[in-house]
Symmetry: C2
Subunit: 408 residues, 2 copies
């Protein structure tokens, strides 16, 4: 038995199902490791000593590379002074000022620990300001794992979602209908940065959709809430809808903000400042100064380097390389979404048999991909990493071509 | 303007109200600092260079002392390997095994980041197992800051609390009535380790209440849920109701678990294992290995040292010292709850004028107390610290005696 299997057996005894949540490897093909021992730059090493070029980046947080020297130096310096006490450190103010300075839609910022903390606080602020109840969310969109939004119904009640109304992402007619349904009770419209639902092709927000979402929120006096937890800082440093010219009232951030340090944020505009002050949200560790120092260092480094352009350049190289490989084999491999947050899905693959074979083959060639979740590039990936990845995807696509021969 | 005032002014521009949540110094007398610069052992230093012996311990997390050498060494060693990757490190299994080994009621453990994550997951697990909806909570009890439990209504909806039924802590008749009201829909009974509501005298759970809570949960087939977030590891290493001989089905932990590192946990027994596996709760940083290494080191050190006995001994010294001082001045100062989680309130002090004067005077003598929230001792406090504290409380009580002369 290898170390991963041995740890899984021990885990099964003391953790329900052996693991929980989005990092549960039971949802991945067999042979995917559950446990890791090392992470550095764009590479992770599992407990059996296998090293991978990582295209999940810890499901997003790692944007500058694991153990980025600048981020860790800032964290270490803050750690030497204090992390938590009976109030925050000065770095809280610096971080809030930095976000307000960086994000055009932001007049203020608050901080927490989970993306779910941030999305939930956005709903509360929208409701506190408007004194209304209804919240619009896109069908199938992920906004966290609290009872109001967790994708599985177990343990939730009907009342947890009593005031949610669903629309179809990028469908203006559907969004309008949902607004009409909410009527005078519309408190907020929640939009993801783009459609990044697991197991589905990704879709960039269309300019028409973004503009309509803003206009419908304005007409109703409701909040436009951008869930930038997953995409934030990878599309545009000022917010993922900046390229669309549409500014949300409230934004939820987390994942990449602290390059792996646990931090989340709500930013908002002046209209929602009083309401943000009225709600009571807090957590024992929300003032942790080390994670704030990491966030300040992360945002500064993203701003002073070409990190996003670098991720886009490498993402395009990966996407076009895979496309060329798939075309040569006659495989229909659909790549969707921003190249720096790639998604790869196969035609005629409802059970992900092709996707699983593709990714497990790549894994055996030292490249960690995901069969049905969007992936992430980072500033730590190099041209050489993409070459190694393309070698692995070639093996993966070859395996798919061999197991699933063309029927033509 | 001092540095704290200058930072508050800057904060007011970029953070709603200048600060949020339980660490907002606006709820404290003027002169309490909002911002800190240093924390070490039992001492914190504010941004203007004033050092205090800290009896808040960051509102609980600091149980072994800020920057405890053993905890920080363990964290540092883990940090050198990895914090987060695409899955947990081996330390996850070690921590779960350690909690199951340490907590008699626990057959399994899960981890998250906030106390609220843990209490919310307990509700979800109770509901998933029982397929019922109703949850009993004590009037005025604090169980976190999600919409279902946050103490302020702003931003919440009636439906967020549609299935809560309230009882009075330590009142068996009231608890029975609440159970009857829930009827066949009773999913869980939430109890705090003891009554530690802000602004109220604390009350230890009576054996009658604890026994009745267990029996009523059993009769209904519901979960007994112990919220041990605030008190956990300061009363009994195995859980705060161990001395009462009453074991919960599910327990929520956080604060002291990682000695200041951001971590929370749900532990439960085998009856609720399947349900815990069925719910989907997760967060980007919940597998952070550094906080888990800190937790393992914290629990080991609490077990191998006399930390709890030490806190009790010093807590008794503080309590009896203050009592003697108050008696000599004829001041009615009510000290309640466990001595290691002290609460000090004054008679005829609805507006906390006495409490504010008492604590602000102590603050000026280098001792950080709280006028209306329970306080915390730690293993890092020393006999000398208590002597210094008693000097400060003497000054505080003298000030109260002078400003509020006895009317007799």
């Amino acid at each position: 038995m290898n170390r991963d299997a041995s740890l899984r057996a021990r885990a099964k005894a003391v953790i329900p199902g052996g693991m929980w949540g989005h990092m549960n490897a039971n949802g991945l093909p067999a042979d995917y490791p559950q446990f890791f021992v090392q992470a550095k730059g764009a590479r992770v090493t599992d407990v059996d000593g296998n090293e991978y070029i990582d295209f999940m980046c810890g499901f997003g947080p790692m944007i500058l590379g694991y153990k980025d020297a600048d981020v860790e130096a800032a964290a270490e310096a803050q750690r030497g002074r204090m992390d938590m006490a009976n109030g925050p450190a000065e770095i809280l103010v610096e971080l809030a000022e930095l976000l307000v300075d960086t994000i055009p839609a932001a007049d203020w910022a608050m901080f927490s620990k989970n993306g779910t903390d941030a999305t939930t606080a956005c709903l509360m602020i929208a409701r506190a300001e408007t004194r209304r109840t209804k919240i619009l969310v896109a069908k199938g969109a992920y906004h966290g794992a609290a009872p109001w939004c967790t994708p599985k119904p177990a343990g939730t009640t009907a009342e947890d979602r009593a005031h949610l109304i669903h629309y179809t992402y990028n469908d203006v007619t559907s969004l309008s209908a949902a607004c009409e349904q909410a009527g005078s009770e519309l408190a907020g419209i929640v939009v993801s940065a783009f459609r990044h639902d697991a197991r589905h092709d990704q879709e960039m927000a269309t300019p028409e959709f973004a503009t309509a979402a803003r206009a419908l929120a304005d007409q109703a006096g409701a909040a436009l809430i951008l869930d930038d937890v997953r995409a934030g800082f990878r599309i545009d440093i000022g917010g993922s809808w900046e390229p669309l010219g549409v500014r949300p009232d409230l934004s939820a951030w987390s994942k990449a903000l602290g390059n792996g340090h646990a931090i989340a944020s709500v930013t908002g505009n002046d209209r929602f400042r009083d309401a943000a002050q009225k709600i009571f949200v807090t957590g024992s560790f929300w003032c942790g100064a080390v994670s704030m120092a990491a966030a300040v260092a992360t945002v500064h480094k993203l701003k002073r380097t070409d990190a996003i352009a670098h991720m886009i350049r490498l993402g395009e190289k990966l996407r076009s390389g895979v496309q060329t490989q798939a075309d040569a084999l006659g495989i229909e491999c659909r790549q969707s979404g921003p190249v720096q947050l790639p998604m790869m899905l196969f035609d005629d693959d409802a059970d992900f048999a092709k996707g699983n074979l593709f990714t497990i083959t790549a894994l055996r060639h030292g490249v960690y991909l995901h069969p049905w979740h969007n992936m992430f590039l980072s500033a730590a990936h190099t041209d050489d990493d993409i070459e190694i990845a393309l070698n692995a995807t070639q093996h993966g696509l070859d395996a798919v071509a061999q197991r699933f021969p063309l029927s033509i």
